[in-house]
Amino acid sequence: MVGNVAAGDTALLQVNDLHTDITTRQGVVHAVSGVSLCIDAGETVGLVGESGCGKTMTAMSLVRLLPGGAGITSGSIKLDGRDLVPLADSQIRSLRGSQISVVFQDPMTSLNPTMAIGHQISESFRLHRSASRRQARSRALEVLGLVGMPRPSERLGEYPHQLSGGMRQRAMIALALVCEPKLLIADEPTTALDATIQAQILELLDNLRQRLGMGMLLVTHDMGVIAGHADRVLVMYAGKIVESAPTEGIFADPRHRYTEALLKSVPSLDQDRSRRLSTIPGTPPDLSHPLRGCSFAPRCSFATDQCNESEPILDGETEAHRYACYHPRSTTAASVTEPASHKAGRSQRPTTLARESPPILSLASVSRRYPVGAGVFRRGSESIKAVSDVSLTVAQGETFGLVGESGCGKSTLGRLIVALERPDEGSVLINGTAFDALSKPQQRQRRRDVQLVFQDSYSAMNPKMRIGSIMRDPLRVQRVGSAAEQRARVTALLDSVGLPQRVTDRFPHELSGGQRQRVGFARALTLSPKLIVADEPVSALDVSVQAQIINLMQSLQSEFNLTYVIVSHDLSVVRYVADRIGVMYLGRLVEIGPSDAVYKHPAHPYTAGLLESIPIPRLQQGNAKQGSAIRGELPSAIHPPSGCPFRTRCPRAQDRCANEAPILRGFSSGHSAACHFPLIPVGASADDIGRTI
């Protein structure tokens, strides 16, 4: 098995039939089995797949940064023709940081919190180039400038916690590039960042790769990131490469059934909302017991006996586009007919619902402040307005999406709605009454009506309790029914969320991420709530599982007549699930409206910028690389800009924006935005507004 033979001899990196095993107590996990790839100088190769598919293990094998118990068992890794596999650890160390560098996922945890940025960057320069302290310092300054760090000389002495997320990732990139490596491994470099920052960082990596002529291995789970930034794509599944093609090939003409399914399960911005998302049934295989035949066969709807019997090899009609599948997606057939079930679901949903039903939730000029720097000497001297003057209503049975970058106040608003926090000003009314206006027993009752679902269900469950007890707990706390009735309720709900009965005896750590999120929803449903606030319900999940949970949320909504408030940074997901959308920026609601109107005709430049920064898993025209739409970073929330908070990053800002805070103005039916210079004319369709008033 030789991958990309044509480029074989000249390639910067040539990996052949690489096998990496992890020895655990349960047995040997074949994390990487037979991966071959090559990367040319100046080229970006994308390695994409779901968690546990072996993409990170493949990348880390290249620099031998493997966890305990893991090791390369066979294969070769040739960098400039020199095989790295037989090298001693000390020889590999001399390559790390100088020839091959790594940019890791979360810059907060990947930088040493107790070491100054300058020191962390200059460390590897001093090591590999035996530079003096002074030389290393000036080199650190130079690279910080190269990665676009503002005021680099001040940053040298600062610590990671003093920088924002985007700045930290720039520092991380500077750290990786200080010795000008030939190969850069970027392992989920933007997964922990906001969409607008993500676009900036990806653009920076592109520029640096071109300027320095590096080869880059871009490891990601995000098809959108791959589409905009890779020259070639390798799709991994169960430790193997199942498809390898130029980026255009993968998106225009995916051949492997897994690639096809993966691409389909991502909700895109132009997704037909009446259709259910297609999902990949089941879960990835256990890599400690390799399957005979194709690893994807158990989850593949096209699998035949042949797939279960023998393993397909990576091959194709052309050298560039290769795939390991016996029943590849046909190029000639225009589109595969989808199973009928995909069309079921929500087609009957009335789109005018929002205006007809009475509001279940209404917020009137809600503000929430947090004191900062509280202490003996400066109590309450300054505060962050996490939520500032937000008014909105949510109708019974509606799904309301709340989007914005981290720190915009969307989670705080969610907590205000479930009365985990109280507003400093304004009121949060549910069915017309505020939480504090209720008597204690009524407040207790109110807690049943409004429930919360968390992003990370694992940390939101007591690890020492079994699933059955976790789900019964709300009923016990609220003293609803007898023990037998409670158990019956748990059983019924597990059914509704599609989990088998036996999970009641399991502990949270024994379930997969998707199963835990199902339990999260089942637990929220035990008390028959009317309103569910879901804070990033699918952000921690793989795309195929994410699609399952989104479909589940929609079927639960019609089954239990639920109203959802969904807080998320993922605009494609929110666009798909929400009827109406609110966009928040620095604690303020800057735009609100029906999701189609907001996405198709955004009025606020911030909304438009957010939409542009979403990496789209589609082919770009002429393979143009995506650029970042919004410049700069979120300003300080303690001292927000005067007037319009977005003006510091806004391309349309004028003097008026600094002097006068814009108020929400209507554009079309139910669609309004707070901007002096909106992207669409005010009252775009006057008759439409007239009808609603």
């Binding site: 940064l65 790390r96 940081g97 990947s110 107790t114 070491m115 400066r378």
Partner: protein, 309 residues
């Protein structure tokens, strides 16, 4: 930073005031008549009464409390009932020995404990991990007085490198400090090993490895500093415990320290002396706590930001 220091100092003074007040109240509540102790068991009641009045014990409680505070502010801790010695002077004679012993013991514990922890964490689940843990635990299991006697026999008597007792030679501190350090190091090894292993699993350590640093360098330059927090907490507490707890070792090595002083004072119902010892130990503990906070701030730049905004 200045604000951080000032706040810690104000807090420290408040704690010392609390200790002093508590000592006064407990001393007053004890069923001990100082006049009887001074006069002796056979003195007539009239003599006891006149001494009682001389000591000013017939004044109302608030008045006595204020004059007690006033005297304390001038460093006057009163006279010993048993020996009529000036308490402040007696304490000042003995404090240096105890401070030297305790300081060196804690430093010794840190050196032994943290070194063993680093060996154990660097070679996790190997022979060296086990060897380091066993060494540390053996120290914990040995009774300190036994180890002290063995050391005295070998290094004081058979090969007289160190003095057999007393503080006449400057090397008096070596054997007692080593005894305390070796018997206390196990805690540091355990906590340090756990803390280092946790730090070594963190992302920034992977980043450090990705730079091509040697494992020893990663451990020493990156992980150790982050792992030191619980160890520093331990050392601060340990210092406090040892200040009052070195009695046995002082006895074995014949060191005229605070422990011995406190012990005699208890036996003789010598209240002013005992109160003096308690206050001195209290002040040392408060100073140590403040120092610990400074060490935190030095170790972790995030501490100050969190405390002062």
């Amino acid at each position: 930073m200045t604000r951080f220091i000032i706040r810690r100092l104000i807090g420290g003074v408040a704690v010392i005031w609390g200790i002093v007040t508590l000592v006064f109240i407990i001393g007053d509540a004890l069923p001990i008549n100082p006049a009887r102790i001074i006069a002796g068991p056979n003195a007539p009641a009239s003599v006891v009464r006149s001494i009682y009045n001389q000591l000013g014990l017939n004044r109302p409680l608030p008045q006595r409390y204020l004059s007690y505070l006033w005297q304390l502010l001038h460093g006057d801790l009163g006279q010993s009932y048993a020996t009529n010695q000036n308490v402040s002077q007696a304490l000042m004679q003995r404090l240096p020995f105890t401070l030297e012993l305790v300081t060196l013991s804690v430093i010794g514990e840190l050196l032994i404990g943290v070194s063993l922890a680093m060996i154990a964490a660097a070679h996790r689940r190997s022979f060296w991990d086990g060897a380091a843990s066993v060494t540390a635990l053996s120290g914990l299991m040995l009774p300190s007085f036994w180890l002290a006697l063995v050391l005295l026999y070998i290094l004081g008597y058979r090969w007289p490198i160190f003095p057999l007792g007393g503080v006449s030679s400057p090397s008096w501190v070596v054997l007692p400090a080593f005894t305390l350090a070796f018997t206390g190091a196990a805690y540091y090894t355990r906590i340090g090993r756990a803390s280092l292993i946790e730090e070594l699993s963190k992302d920034y350590v992977r980043t450090a490895r990705s730079k091509g640093l040697k494992p020893s360098h990663v451990l020493y330059k990156h992980a150790l500093r982050n792992a030191l927090r619980p160890i520093v907490t331990m050392a601060g507490l340990d210092f406090a415990t040892l200040m009052g707890g070195v009695l046995v070792i002082e006895q074995v090595f014949g060191i005229p320290g605070l422990g011995t002083l406190a012990w005699t004072a208890v036996l003789q119902n010598d209240l002013p002396m005992l109160e003096g010892v308690i206050i001195v130990i209290g002040v040392v503990i408060v100073i140590m706590t403040i120092l610990t906070d400074f060490v935190y701030a030095w170790l972790d730049p995030r501490v100050i930001v969190r405390n002062t905004g």
